[in-house]
């Protein structure tokens, strides 16, 4: 059956709740018109705010100014470079090994942190835990329908662990800034620079954990922020920063710039990831269950914002998942 796609962005008619007007433009594009008209002024304001925030936070902590969630992929590598080149911060790069990190990405992680002279820690959970979490979320969607609009169950699980681990480390080491390489399409610009609110964090973490069945919940809980931290470290909650939401973003330019410091585009990942060998299977499972690609919201936002060409967006979203990569992850998970 032929799907209908928004004539402006790339959202399909299978996207829950979508409506099209007579010109074939979706309700999300219409709703964003006002915000997009003000976007460029807003971006330069955010750059000034980040400059100011960094000026205030620099050297305020014992060892590191910022902890960076670093996957070795294009966006987090570029963010790391930006934080080093523009601000010369004391950075702790933090890599979560989910057992599906591409060997290319590991090489990039080593090259980039060496070249930028950045300290790196790697956190690897045992395979039994990884297999349990990712098999469960490959088999069914355990999160709310709203969460499924923006990411697959597998990715939501993985990023939920990453966010908790970097926050824990920031609190323990008194690091005032937590950086992510989120693309301009992944979250609204308002969240690109925001102090972590303990009460809100506690409630969203509770909702995240609630999605897991009993025994699995017990095994994933140690990776989350312990309740005691909200009291012990109540004065240390850091700012989250996602600089790519407001700095110039162009995938091709980013790749070219990264190549100057030794980063290489992996040949073993899918079109929506430059670090993860589980992503194609995560996408495949999501598309089968939900009828739309889990990256379509992010890529549609980027097309709408003009940071990605619509044809490129269409190619990323409406190209079949690589069958070999899907089979690789499925087999590794024993499914």
């Amino acid at each position: 059956m032929q799907i209908k796609i928004c004539s402006r962005c790339i959202l399909p008619d299978t996207f829950p709740g979508i409506k099209f007007d007579d010109n074939g433009v979706c309700n999300h594009c219409r709703r964003e018109e006002k915000a997009l008209a003000k976007a460029s002024g807003k971006k330069s304001d955010y750059i000034k705010h980040l400059d100011e925030l960094i000026k205030n936070k620099r050297d305020s902590a014992p060892v590191y100014d910022v902890i960076m969630a670093f996957s070795g992929g294009k966006d987090s590598s570029y963010t790391l470079k930006l934080l080093k080149d523009r601000y010369d911060l004391r950075i702790l790069a933090y890599t979560f090994d989910n057992h599906f990190v591409s060997p290319f990405a590991f090489e990039n992680i080593k090259k980039i942190t060496d070249k930028l002279k950045v300290d790196l820690v790697q956190f690897r959970l045992p395979w039994t835990a990884g297999k349990e979490f990712f098999s469960l979320t490959a088999k069914k969607d355990i999160f709310s329908k709203a969460t499924m609009l923006r990411a697959s169950s597998i990715c939501t699980t993985c990023i939920g662990i990453v966010k908790a681990l970097v926050l824990k480390t920031a609190l323990e080491m008194s690091i005032p800034l937590v950086a992510f390489g989120w693309s301009p399409g992944q979250a609204p610009i308002q969240s690109a620079m925001m102090k972590t609110n303990p009460a809100l964090n506690r409630q969203t973490q509770k909702a995240f954990l609630k999605a897991f069945p009993g025994e699995t919940k017990k095994r994933i809980t140690p990776y989350m922020l312990p309740d005691s931290y909200y009291e012990i470290y109540k004065d240390r909650f850091p700012y989250n920063i996602h600089p790519l939401a407001f700095f110039d973003y162009n995938e091709e330019k980013i790749k070219v710039e990264l190549e100057t410091i030794g980063w290489e585009l992996p040949s073993d990942t899918d079109t929506n990831s430059s670090n993860c060998l589980l992503n194609a299977y995560a996408n495949h499972c999501h598309i089968i269950r939900n009828g739309f690609h889990p990256y379509v919201w992010e890529i549609a936002n980027m097309v709408r914002q003009g940071v990605m060409d619509r044809d490129e967006g269409m190619e990323k979203i409406y190209t079949d998942q690589n069958a070999d990569m899907v089979a690789f992850a499925q087999e590794k998970l024993g499914l």
């Binding site: 709740g17 915000a35 995240f208 999605a211």
Partner: protein
């Protein structure tokens, strides 16, 4: 304020409940009921800032201000 309340409700229903209003009461917790997740809260903030031309400060990003239609409406009443 009832107009603001209607706009909030409409935003939640259109973007997170896909038109299904069943189960959404004025005091339903968005987070506890899985209606909105952490990214969804940020989208709600984005909507409130754009629609009502307000600036939401970091310290105002608490469940008491954002976690139900009643909470958001009460917060907006103070803000506007």
């Amino acid at each position: 304020m009832s107009n603001a309340r209607d706009k909030i409700k409409e935003f939640i229903i259109e973007n997170f409940l896909f038109g299904e209003v069943e189960g959404l009461k004025e005091d339903t917790s968005f987070l506890d009921e899985g209606i909105i997740d952490s990214t969804g809260i940020l989208e709600l903030v984005n909507f409130l800032e754009e629609e009502f031309e307000i600036r939401i400060d970091d310290e105002e990003l608490v469940p008491e201000n954002l976690d139900s239609i009643n909470n958001v409406a009460a917060y907006l009443e103070k803000k506007l």
